[in-house]
Protein backbone atom coordinates (compact mmCIF):
# COMPACT_ATOMS: atom_id res chain seq x y z
CA UNK A 1 0.00 0.00 0.00
CA UNK A 2 2.80 2.39 0.98
CA UNK A 3 0.77 5.52 1.12
CA UNK A 4 2.54 7.25 3.93
CA UNK A 5 5.18 9.92 4.04
CA UNK A 6 5.26 13.33 2.44
CA UNK A 7 3.09 12.36 -0.55
CA UNK A 8 0.34 11.27 1.79
CA UNK A 9 0.69 14.48 3.80
CA UNK A 10 0.48 16.62 0.68
CA UNK A 11 -2.56 14.74 -0.57
CA UNK A 12 -4.28 15.04 2.81
CA UNK A 13 -3.67 18.78 2.73
CA UNK A 14 -5.08 19.09 -0.80
CA UNK A 15 -8.26 17.23 0.20
CA UNK A 16 -9.07 19.95 2.74
CA UNK A 17 -9.95 22.41 -0.04
CA UNK A 18 -13.36 23.11 -1.57
CA UNK A 19 -13.22 19.99 -3.76
CA UNK A 20 -12.79 17.94 -0.61
CA UNK A 21 -15.66 19.74 1.07
CA UNK A 22 -17.87 18.94 -1.88
CA UNK A 23 -16.93 15.27 -1.52
CA UNK A 24 -17.73 15.41 2.21
CA UNK A 25 -21.08 17.07 1.55
CA UNK A 26 -21.93 14.48 -1.11
CA UNK A 27 -20.91 11.68 1.27
CA UNK A 28 -23.12 12.91 4.13
CA UNK A 29 -26.15 13.34 1.83
CA UNK A 30 -25.50 9.97 0.17
CA UNK A 31 -25.34 8.18 3.54
CA UNK A 32 -28.57 9.79 4.73
CA UNK A 33 -30.33 8.82 1.50
CA UNK A 34 -28.93 5.29 1.73
CA UNK A 35 -30.12 4.89 5.30
CA UNK A 36 -33.52 6.24 4.34
CA UNK A 37 -33.77 3.82 1.41
CA UNK A 38 -32.94 0.93 3.73
CA UNK A 39 -35.60 1.97 6.25
CA UNK A 40 -38.70 1.28 4.16
CA UNK A 41 -40.98 1.44 7.18
CA UNK A 42 -39.71 4.97 7.84
CA UNK A 43 -40.75 6.01 4.35
CA UNK A 44 -44.12 4.29 4.64
CA UNK A 45 -44.88 5.87 8.02
CA UNK A 46 -43.71 9.27 6.77
CA UNK A 47 -46.21 8.95 3.92
CA UNK A 48 -49.06 7.31 5.80
CA UNK A 49 -49.14 9.93 8.57
CA UNK A 50 -50.09 12.92 6.38
CA UNK A 51 -52.26 10.78 4.15
CA UNK A 52 -54.35 9.69 7.14
CA UNK A 53 -54.83 13.37 7.95
CA UNK A 54 -55.72 14.12 4.34
CA UNK A 55 -58.03 11.19 3.72
CA UNK A 56 -59.79 10.95 7.08
CA UNK A 57 -59.35 14.12 9.11
CA UNK A 58 -59.74 16.55 6.22
CA UNK A 59 -62.67 14.63 4.74
CA UNK A 60 -64.45 14.77 8.08
CA UNK A 61 -63.76 18.44 8.59
CA UNK A 62 -64.71 19.42 5.05
CA UNK A 63 -68.37 19.58 5.99
CA UNK A 64 -68.01 21.32 9.37
CA UNK A 65 -65.21 23.79 8.68
CA UNK A 66 -66.15 26.46 6.18
CA UNK A 67 -63.34 28.54 4.75
CA UNK A 68 -63.84 31.95 3.19
CA UNK A 69 -61.38 33.06 0.54
CA UNK A 70 -57.96 33.15 2.18
CA UNK A 71 -54.66 34.22 0.65
CA UNK A 72 -53.06 32.84 -1.51
CA UNK A 73 -56.20 31.10 -2.76
CA UNK A 74 -58.24 33.10 -5.28
CA UNK A 75 -61.46 31.24 -4.64
CA UNK A 76 -63.06 28.97 -2.12
CA UNK A 77 -61.01 25.81 -1.65
CA UNK A 78 -61.76 22.41 -0.25
CA UNK A 79 -60.44 21.79 3.23
CA UNK A 80 -58.15 19.11 1.78
CA UNK A 81 -56.54 21.77 -0.39
CA UNK A 82 -56.13 24.13 2.55
CA UNK A 83 -54.56 21.52 4.81
CA UNK A 84 -52.07 20.11 2.26
CA UNK A 85 -49.27 22.70 2.78
CA UNK A 86 -49.54 22.15 6.53
CA UNK A 87 -49.17 18.42 5.99
CA UNK A 88 -46.09 19.02 3.79
CA UNK A 89 -44.61 20.99 6.69
CA UNK A 90 -45.67 18.24 9.08
CA UNK A 91 -43.66 15.72 7.06
CA UNK A 92 -40.64 18.02 7.38
CA UNK A 93 -41.27 18.56 11.08
CA UNK A 94 -41.32 14.83 11.76
CA UNK A 95 -38.31 14.33 9.51
CA UNK A 96 -36.38 17.05 11.35
CA UNK A 97 -37.13 15.38 14.66
CA UNK A 98 -36.28 11.96 13.18
CA UNK A 99 -32.88 13.34 12.12
CA UNK A 100 -32.46 14.72 15.61
CA UNK A 101 -33.33 11.30 17.04
CA UNK A 102 -30.76 9.63 14.81
CA UNK A 103 -28.15 12.18 15.96
CA UNK A 104 -28.84 11.26 19.59
CA UNK A 105 -28.77 7.57 18.69
CA UNK A 106 -25.49 8.02 16.78
CA UNK A 107 -24.04 9.85 19.76
CA UNK A 108 -25.05 7.10 22.16
CA UNK A 109 -23.71 4.32 19.94
CA UNK A 110 -20.52 6.19 19.09
CA UNK A 111 -21.28 6.41 15.37
CA UNK A 112 -21.32 10.19 15.49
CA UNK A 113 -17.60 10.20 16.24
CA UNK A 114 -17.03 9.15 12.64
CA UNK A 115 -18.55 12.44 11.57
CA UNK A 116 -16.96 14.61 14.24
CA UNK A 117 -13.36 13.42 13.67
CA UNK A 118 -13.53 14.51 10.04
CA UNK A 119 -10.90 17.19 9.34
CA UNK A 120 -13.54 19.61 8.08
CA UNK A 121 -14.94 22.31 10.37
CA UNK A 122 -17.74 21.31 12.71
CA UNK A 123 -20.11 23.98 11.29
CA UNK A 124 -19.62 22.56 7.81
CA UNK A 125 -20.29 18.98 8.93
CA UNK A 126 -23.42 19.93 10.85
CA UNK A 127 -24.71 22.03 7.95
CA UNK A 128 -24.09 19.08 5.61
CA UNK A 129 -25.95 16.80 7.99
CA UNK A 130 -28.79 19.32 8.07
CA UNK A 131 -28.98 19.52 4.27
CA UNK A 132 -28.93 15.73 4.02
CA UNK A 133 -32.01 15.61 6.26
CA UNK A 134 -33.67 18.29 4.13
CA UNK A 135 -33.03 16.25 0.96
CA UNK A 136 -34.68 13.21 2.54
CA UNK A 137 -37.68 15.28 3.66
CA UNK A 138 -38.17 16.74 0.17
CA UNK A 139 -38.37 13.26 -1.36
CA UNK A 140 -41.12 12.45 1.15
CA UNK A 141 -43.02 15.69 0.48
CA UNK A 142 -43.06 15.17 -3.28
CA UNK A 143 -44.24 11.58 -2.81
CA UNK A 144 -47.06 12.93 -0.61
CA UNK A 145 -47.97 15.65 -3.15
CA UNK A 146 -48.10 13.02 -5.89
CA UNK A 147 -50.63 10.97 -3.90
CA UNK A 148 -52.57 14.11 -2.90
CA UNK A 149 -52.96 15.01 -6.59
CA UNK A 150 -55.23 11.99 -6.95
CA UNK A 151 -57.26 13.37 -4.02
CA UNK A 152 -58.13 16.52 -5.96
CA UNK A 153 -55.34 18.58 -4.44
CA UNK A 154 -54.07 20.06 -7.67
CA UNK A 155 -51.95 23.18 -7.30
CA UNK A 156 -50.81 24.85 -10.55
CA UNK A 157 -48.05 22.82 -12.27
CA UNK A 158 -45.53 25.63 -11.72
CA UNK A 159 -46.32 25.42 -8.03
CA UNK A 160 -44.55 22.07 -7.81
CA UNK A 161 -41.35 23.77 -8.92
CA UNK A 162 -41.88 27.04 -7.06
CA UNK A 163 -42.40 25.15 -3.79
CA UNK A 164 -38.95 23.54 -3.92
CA UNK A 165 -36.98 26.54 -2.52
CA UNK A 166 -39.67 26.97 0.14
CA UNK A 167 -39.34 23.31 1.10
CA UNK A 168 -35.56 23.65 1.30
CA UNK A 169 -35.89 26.64 3.62
CA UNK A 170 -38.64 25.20 5.80
CA UNK A 171 -36.78 21.87 5.96
CA UNK A 172 -33.65 23.73 7.06
CA UNK A 173 -35.52 25.57 9.77
CA UNK A 174 -37.17 22.47 11.19
CA UNK A 175 -33.96 20.45 10.80
CA UNK A 176 -31.97 23.17 12.60
CA UNK A 177 -34.44 23.09 15.50
CA UNK A 178 -34.04 19.31 15.62
CA UNK A 179 -30.25 19.61 15.45
CA UNK A 180 -30.21 21.99 18.39
CA UNK A 181 -32.56 19.76 20.37
CA UNK A 182 -30.28 16.77 19.73
CA UNK A 183 -27.45 18.63 21.44
CA UNK A 184 -29.54 19.21 24.55
CA UNK A 185 -30.87 15.65 24.95
CA UNK A 186 -28.67 13.49 27.13
CA UNK A 187 -30.31 10.13 26.57
CA UNK A 188 -32.38 8.51 23.86
CA UNK A 189 -35.12 7.77 26.38
CA UNK A 190 -35.69 11.51 26.84
CA UNK A 191 -36.65 11.81 23.22
CA UNK A 192 -40.28 10.88 23.86
CA UNK A 193 -40.59 14.24 25.58
CA UNK A 194 -39.76 15.92 22.30
CA UNK A 195 -42.81 14.34 20.74
CA UNK A 196 -45.07 15.72 23.43
CA UNK A 197 -43.49 19.09 24.00
CA UNK A 198 -42.26 20.06 20.55
CA UNK A 199 -43.93 18.27 17.65
CA UNK A 200 -47.57 18.32 18.75
CA UNK A 201 -47.71 21.88 20.14
CA UNK A 202 -45.84 23.17 17.08
CA UNK A 203 -48.20 21.45 14.70
CA UNK A 204 -51.52 22.15 16.40
CA UNK A 205 -50.71 25.73 17.44
CA UNK A 206 -50.10 26.83 13.87
CA UNK A 207 -51.94 27.67 10.67
CA UNK A 208 -51.48 24.10 9.40
CA UNK A 209 -55.06 23.00 10.16
CA UNK A 210 -56.98 26.27 10.30
CA UNK A 211 -56.30 29.86 9.22
CA UNK A 212 -55.18 32.22 11.97
CA UNK A 213 -58.16 34.53 11.51
CA UNK A 214 -60.45 31.63 12.40
CA UNK A 215 -58.36 30.97 15.47
CA UNK A 216 -58.81 34.55 16.69
CA UNK A 217 -62.59 34.09 16.59
CA UNK A 218 -62.34 31.49 19.34
CA UNK A 219 -59.31 32.75 21.29
CA UNK A 220 -57.17 35.82 20.78
CA UNK A 221 -54.49 34.35 23.03
CA UNK A 222 -54.33 31.17 20.98
CA UNK A 223 -54.15 33.25 17.83
CA UNK A 224 -51.18 35.17 19.27
CA UNK A 225 -49.45 31.93 20.25
CA UNK A 226 -49.95 30.58 16.73
CA UNK A 227 -48.62 33.84 15.29
CA UNK A 228 -45.45 33.44 17.38
CA UNK A 229 -44.94 29.83 16.32
CA UNK A 230 -42.22 29.59 13.62
CA UNK A 231 -43.94 26.49 12.22
CA UNK A 232 -46.84 28.75 11.13
CA UNK A 233 -44.42 30.64 8.88
CA UNK A 234 -42.97 27.44 7.42
CA UNK A 235 -46.53 26.40 6.53
CA UNK A 236 -47.35 29.78 5.00
CA UNK A 237 -44.09 29.88 3.03
CA UNK A 238 -44.97 26.50 1.52
CA UNK A 239 -48.64 27.44 0.98
CA UNK A 240 -47.82 30.63 -0.93
CA UNK A 241 -45.00 29.02 -2.94
CA UNK A 242 -47.27 26.16 -3.96
CA UNK A 243 -49.47 28.78 -5.64
CA UNK A 244 -46.58 30.70 -7.18
CA UNK A 245 -46.45 33.47 -4.58
CA UNK A 246 -43.90 34.67 -2.05
CA UNK A 247 -44.87 35.47 1.53
CA UNK A 248 -42.11 37.86 2.60
CA UNK A 249 -42.90 37.78 6.30
CA UNK A 250 -42.85 33.99 6.29
CA UNK A 251 -39.55 34.02 4.38
CA UNK A 252 -37.95 36.42 6.86
CA UNK A 253 -39.10 34.44 9.91
CA UNK A 254 -38.03 31.08 8.45
CA UNK A 255 -34.58 32.38 7.48
CA UNK A 256 -34.14 34.13 10.85
CA UNK A 257 -35.16 31.10 12.92
CA UNK A 258 -32.93 28.83 10.79
CA UNK A 259 -29.90 31.04 11.40
CA UNK A 260 -30.63 31.27 15.13
CA UNK A 261 -31.07 27.52 15.71
CA UNK A 262 -28.28 26.43 13.38
CA UNK A 263 -25.96 28.88 15.14
CA UNK A 264 -27.05 27.51 18.51
CA UNK A 265 -26.51 23.91 17.34
CA UNK A 266 -23.03 24.72 16.00
CA UNK A 267 -22.19 26.39 19.30
CA UNK A 268 -23.51 23.39 21.23
CA UNK A 269 -21.47 20.91 19.17
CA UNK A 270 -18.26 23.00 19.34
CA UNK A 271 -15.86 21.07 21.59
CA UNK A 272 -14.42 24.23 23.10
CA UNK A 273 -17.70 25.99 23.86
CA UNK A 274 -20.82 23.95 23.69
CA UNK A 275 -23.00 21.69 25.76
CA UNK A 276 -21.44 18.49 24.43
CA UNK A 277 -18.05 19.56 25.82
CA UNK A 278 -19.45 19.69 29.34
CA UNK A 279 -20.41 16.03 29.35
CA UNK A 280 -18.36 13.02 30.17
CA UNK A 281 -18.41 10.34 27.54
CA UNK A 282 -16.61 7.36 26.09
Amino acid sequence: MSDIGSNSALRAHRRLGWGGRLSAFRGVVWREMLRFAKQRERFVSALVRPLVWLFIFAAGFRSVLGLSITEPYETYVLYEVYVTPGLCAMIQLFNGMQSSLSMVYDRETGAMRTLLVSPFPRWFLLSSKLMAGVAVSIVQVYAFLAVAWFWEVEPPPMGYIMVLPALILSGMMLGAIGLFLSSTIRQLENFAGIMNFVIFPMFFASSALYPLWRMSESSVLLHDICALNPFTYAVELIRFALYGQLNLLALAVVVGVTIAFLGAAIFAYDPSKGLIAKRRGG
Binding site: M1, A9, A12, S23, R31, P271
Partner: protein, 246 residues
Protein backbone atom coordinates in the same frame (compact mmCIF):
# COMPACT_ATOMS: atom_id res chain seq x y z
CA UNK B 1 24.31 7.89 12.00
CA UNK B 2 20.59 8.63 11.93
CA UNK B 3 18.89 11.43 13.87
CA UNK B 4 15.84 11.05 16.08
CA UNK B 5 12.67 10.03 14.30
CA UNK B 6 10.09 12.78 13.68
CA UNK B 7 7.18 12.76 16.11
CA UNK B 8 3.82 11.53 14.89
CA UNK B 9 2.21 12.54 18.19
CA UNK B 10 3.44 14.93 20.83
CA UNK B 11 1.43 15.60 23.99
CA UNK B 12 2.71 18.11 26.52
CA UNK B 13 1.22 18.90 29.93
CA UNK B 14 -2.40 18.07 29.14
CA UNK B 15 -4.97 18.12 31.93
CA UNK B 16 -8.71 17.71 31.70
CA UNK B 17 -11.58 17.83 34.16
CA UNK B 18 -15.25 16.92 34.09
CA UNK B 19 -16.65 19.41 36.56
CA UNK B 20 -14.82 18.80 39.85
CA UNK B 21 -13.43 15.43 38.68
CA UNK B 22 -9.91 15.56 37.31
CA UNK B 23 -9.67 12.95 34.53
CA UNK B 24 -6.15 13.81 33.33
CA UNK B 25 -3.38 15.55 35.21
CA UNK B 26 -0.38 17.00 33.38
CA UNK B 27 -0.07 14.16 30.86
CA UNK B 28 2.85 14.17 28.42
CA UNK B 29 3.83 11.51 25.89
CA UNK B 30 5.41 11.11 22.47
CA UNK B 31 4.92 8.66 19.63
CA UNK B 32 7.69 8.77 17.00
CA UNK B 33 7.06 7.89 13.36
CA UNK B 34 6.79 4.15 12.69
CA UNK B 35 6.66 3.15 16.36
CA UNK B 36 4.17 0.94 18.17
CA UNK B 37 3.48 2.73 21.45
CA UNK B 38 1.19 1.31 24.11
CA UNK B 39 -0.88 3.38 26.50
CA UNK B 40 -1.30 1.02 29.43
CA UNK B 41 -3.93 1.58 32.08
CA UNK B 42 -6.87 -0.02 33.81
CA UNK B 43 -10.45 1.06 33.14
CA UNK B 44 -10.97 4.63 34.26
CA UNK B 45 -7.30 5.53 33.93
CA UNK B 46 -8.12 8.31 31.45
CA UNK B 47 -7.16 6.58 28.18
CA UNK B 48 -10.44 7.29 26.39
CA UNK B 49 -10.49 10.87 27.65
CA UNK B 50 -6.98 11.34 26.27
CA UNK B 51 -8.08 9.91 22.91
CA UNK B 52 -11.10 12.21 22.90
CA UNK B 53 -8.77 15.17 23.38
CA UNK B 54 -6.42 14.02 20.61
CA UNK B 55 -9.34 13.58 18.22
CA UNK B 56 -10.85 16.92 19.23
CA UNK B 57 -14.05 15.39 20.55
CA UNK B 58 -13.13 17.33 23.68
CA UNK B 59 -11.26 20.58 23.80
CA UNK B 60 -7.84 20.63 25.45
CA UNK B 61 -7.64 23.83 27.44
CA UNK B 62 -4.28 23.18 29.06
CA UNK B 63 -1.08 21.90 27.44
CA UNK B 64 -0.70 21.08 23.79
CA UNK B 65 -1.38 18.13 21.49
CA UNK B 66 0.40 17.98 18.14
CA UNK B 67 -0.17 15.46 15.36
CA UNK B 68 2.74 15.60 12.94
CA UNK B 69 3.45 19.10 14.20
CA UNK B 70 -0.13 20.34 13.77
CA UNK B 71 -1.67 21.61 16.99
CA UNK B 72 -5.13 19.98 17.24
CA UNK B 73 -6.57 23.11 18.84
CA UNK B 74 -5.16 25.67 16.43
CA UNK B 75 -5.09 23.55 13.25
CA UNK B 76 -7.64 20.78 13.79
CA UNK B 77 -8.13 20.14 10.06
CA UNK B 78 -4.54 19.21 9.13
CA UNK B 79 -4.11 17.36 12.44
CA UNK B 80 -7.24 15.21 11.98
CA UNK B 81 -6.34 14.56 8.34
CA UNK B 82 -3.17 12.78 9.55
CA UNK B 83 -5.04 10.73 12.09
CA UNK B 84 -6.82 7.36 11.82
CA UNK B 85 -8.91 6.30 14.80
CA UNK B 86 -10.39 3.02 15.99
CA UNK B 87 -12.73 3.80 18.86
CA UNK B 88 -13.35 1.55 21.82
CA UNK B 89 -17.06 1.28 21.08
CA UNK B 90 -18.09 0.04 17.65
CA UNK B 91 -18.79 2.94 15.35
CA UNK B 92 -19.44 1.34 11.96
CA UNK B 93 -22.95 1.56 10.57
CA UNK B 94 -24.24 -2.00 10.97
CA UNK B 95 -26.90 -1.64 8.29
CA UNK B 96 -24.37 -0.65 5.62
CA UNK B 97 -21.76 -2.76 3.86
CA UNK B 98 -18.01 -2.47 4.40
CA UNK B 99 -17.70 -0.57 1.11
CA UNK B 100 -20.50 1.84 2.04
CA UNK B 101 -18.88 2.52 5.43
CA UNK B 102 -15.47 3.04 3.86
CA UNK B 103 -16.91 5.25 1.15
CA UNK B 104 -18.65 7.44 3.75
CA UNK B 105 -15.44 7.79 5.74
CA UNK B 106 -13.47 8.59 2.58
CA UNK B 107 -15.96 11.33 1.68
CA UNK B 108 -15.63 12.79 5.18
CA UNK B 109 -11.92 13.10 4.49
CA UNK B 110 -12.48 14.82 1.14
CA UNK B 111 -11.62 11.86 -1.08
CA UNK B 112 -13.25 11.54 -4.48
CA UNK B 113 -15.34 8.44 -5.21
CA UNK B 114 -12.79 6.97 -7.65
CA UNK B 115 -9.95 7.59 -5.20
CA UNK B 116 -12.04 5.99 -2.45
CA UNK B 117 -12.79 2.88 -4.54
CA UNK B 118 -9.14 2.24 -5.34
CA UNK B 119 -8.09 2.88 -1.76
CA UNK B 120 -10.88 0.71 -0.31
CA UNK B 121 -9.77 -2.26 -2.38
CA UNK B 122 -6.22 -1.85 -1.07
CA UNK B 123 -7.17 -1.50 2.59
CA UNK B 124 -9.67 -4.38 2.69
CA UNK B 125 -7.00 -6.62 1.15
CA UNK B 126 -4.58 -5.39 3.79
CA UNK B 127 -6.95 -6.35 6.61
CA UNK B 128 -7.79 -9.61 4.82
CA UNK B 129 -11.43 -8.77 4.13
CA UNK B 130 -11.14 -8.59 0.35
CA UNK B 131 -14.02 -11.03 -0.15
CA UNK B 132 -16.31 -9.18 2.26
CA UNK B 133 -16.36 -5.78 0.62
CA UNK B 134 -20.13 -5.87 0.01
CA UNK B 135 -21.08 -7.67 3.23
CA UNK B 136 -23.16 -5.81 5.78
CA UNK B 137 -21.32 -5.06 9.03
CA UNK B 138 -24.10 -6.83 10.95
CA UNK B 139 -23.18 -10.05 9.10
CA UNK B 140 -19.50 -9.95 10.16
CA UNK B 141 -17.92 -11.62 13.18
CA UNK B 142 -16.53 -9.44 15.96
CA UNK B 143 -12.96 -9.85 14.72
CA UNK B 144 -13.93 -9.09 11.13
CA UNK B 145 -15.83 -6.00 12.20
CA UNK B 146 -12.78 -4.82 14.14
CA UNK B 147 -10.58 -5.35 11.08
CA UNK B 148 -13.14 -3.41 9.04
CA UNK B 149 -12.79 -0.56 11.54
CA UNK B 150 -9.03 -0.65 11.09
CA UNK B 151 -9.52 -0.61 7.30
CA UNK B 152 -11.71 2.45 7.71
CA UNK B 153 -9.13 4.18 9.89
CA UNK B 154 -6.54 3.56 7.14
CA UNK B 155 -8.75 4.77 4.27
CA UNK B 156 -7.40 8.32 4.05
CA UNK B 157 -3.75 7.27 4.41
CA UNK B 158 -3.09 8.54 7.97
CA UNK B 159 0.43 8.60 9.37
CA UNK B 160 -0.75 8.06 12.94
CA UNK B 161 -3.22 5.44 14.14
CA UNK B 162 -5.00 5.64 17.48
CA UNK B 163 -6.60 2.43 18.71
CA UNK B 164 -8.64 2.53 21.89
CA UNK B 165 -8.78 -0.98 23.38
CA UNK B 166 -9.42 -2.47 19.94
CA UNK B 167 -9.39 -6.09 21.12
CA UNK B 168 -12.00 -5.76 23.84
CA UNK B 169 -14.76 -8.31 23.34
CA UNK B 170 -12.83 -10.39 20.82
CA UNK B 171 -11.98 -14.07 21.15
CA UNK B 172 -8.31 -15.09 21.49
CA UNK B 173 -7.83 -15.86 17.79
CA UNK B 174 -9.38 -12.57 16.65
CA UNK B 175 -7.34 -10.68 19.25
CA UNK B 176 -4.11 -12.14 17.94
CA UNK B 177 -5.11 -11.35 14.36
CA UNK B 178 -5.86 -7.72 15.15
CA UNK B 179 -2.63 -7.25 17.13
CA UNK B 180 -0.54 -8.85 14.37
CA UNK B 181 -2.28 -6.80 11.71
CA UNK B 182 -1.46 -3.51 13.43
CA UNK B 183 2.13 -4.56 14.12
CA UNK B 184 2.48 -5.39 10.42
CA UNK B 185 1.26 -1.90 9.56
CA UNK B 186 3.95 -0.40 11.76
CA UNK B 187 6.68 -2.64 10.32
CA UNK B 188 5.72 -2.45 6.64
CA UNK B 189 3.96 0.90 6.28
CA UNK B 190 5.79 2.94 8.92
CA UNK B 191 2.54 4.09 10.52
CA UNK B 192 2.92 5.42 14.08
CA UNK B 193 0.53 3.67 16.48
CA UNK B 194 -0.80 4.58 19.89
CA UNK B 195 -2.50 1.45 21.24
CA UNK B 196 -4.54 1.90 24.42
CA UNK B 197 -4.98 -1.30 26.39
CA UNK B 198 -5.24 -2.87 29.80
CA UNK B 199 -4.05 -6.27 28.51
CA UNK B 200 -0.36 -6.78 29.30
CA UNK B 201 0.09 -9.65 26.84
CA UNK B 202 -0.50 -7.26 23.95
CA UNK B 203 2.70 -5.40 24.82
CA UNK B 204 6.17 -6.58 23.74
CA UNK B 205 9.42 -5.78 25.55
CA UNK B 206 10.62 -3.55 22.68
CA UNK B 207 7.40 -1.46 22.64
CA UNK B 208 7.31 2.06 23.95
CA UNK B 209 4.93 2.10 26.93
CA UNK B 210 3.22 4.91 28.84
CA UNK B 211 1.57 3.80 32.08
CA UNK B 212 -1.48 5.92 32.82
CA UNK B 213 -3.23 5.61 36.16
CA UNK B 214 -5.96 7.84 37.60
CA UNK B 215 -5.18 10.42 34.95
CA UNK B 216 -1.44 10.58 35.66
CA UNK B 217 1.56 9.21 33.78
CA UNK B 218 3.39 6.91 36.20
CA UNK B 219 6.03 5.58 33.82
CA UNK B 220 7.17 6.18 30.27
CA UNK B 221 9.79 4.20 28.36
CA UNK B 222 10.50 0.82 26.81
CA UNK B 223 8.39 -1.99 28.23
CA UNK B 224 11.52 -3.96 29.12
CA UNK B 225 12.92 -0.98 31.06
CA UNK B 226 9.66 -0.41 32.95
CA UNK B 227 9.41 -4.11 33.77
CA UNK B 228 13.03 -4.23 35.01
CA UNK B 229 13.63 -7.85 35.89
CA UNK B 230 9.93 -8.53 36.57
CA UNK B 231 6.96 -9.14 34.32
CA UNK B 232 5.21 -6.04 33.00
CA UNK B 233 2.06 -6.83 34.99
CA UNK B 234 4.06 -7.09 38.25
CA UNK B 235 5.82 -3.83 37.49
CA UNK B 236 2.47 -2.21 36.68
CA UNK B 237 0.92 -3.40 39.93
CA UNK B 238 3.93 -2.18 41.86
CA UNK B 239 3.68 1.23 40.20
CA UNK B 240 -0.04 1.69 40.67
CA UNK B 241 0.10 0.26 44.18
CA UNK B 242 2.77 2.75 45.20
CA UNK B 243 0.77 5.58 43.63
CA UNK B 244 -2.39 4.47 45.40
CA UNK B 245 -0.63 4.25 48.75
CA UNK B 246 0.92 7.73 48.36
Amino acid sequence: MTGPKPLALEIEGVSHSFGPTKALNDVSLRVPEGVFAALLGINGAGKTTLFSLITRLYDNVTGSIKVWGHDVRRKPGPALAELGVVFQSRSLDRDLSIWQNLSYHAALHGMSRSEARARAEAVVDLVRLGDKMNSRIAALSGGQARRAEIARALMHGPRLLLLDEPTVGLDVKSRLEVVELVRDLVAKEGVGVLWATHLFDEVRPEDHVTVLHKGQVLADGLASQIAGGETLSDAFLALTGREAAA
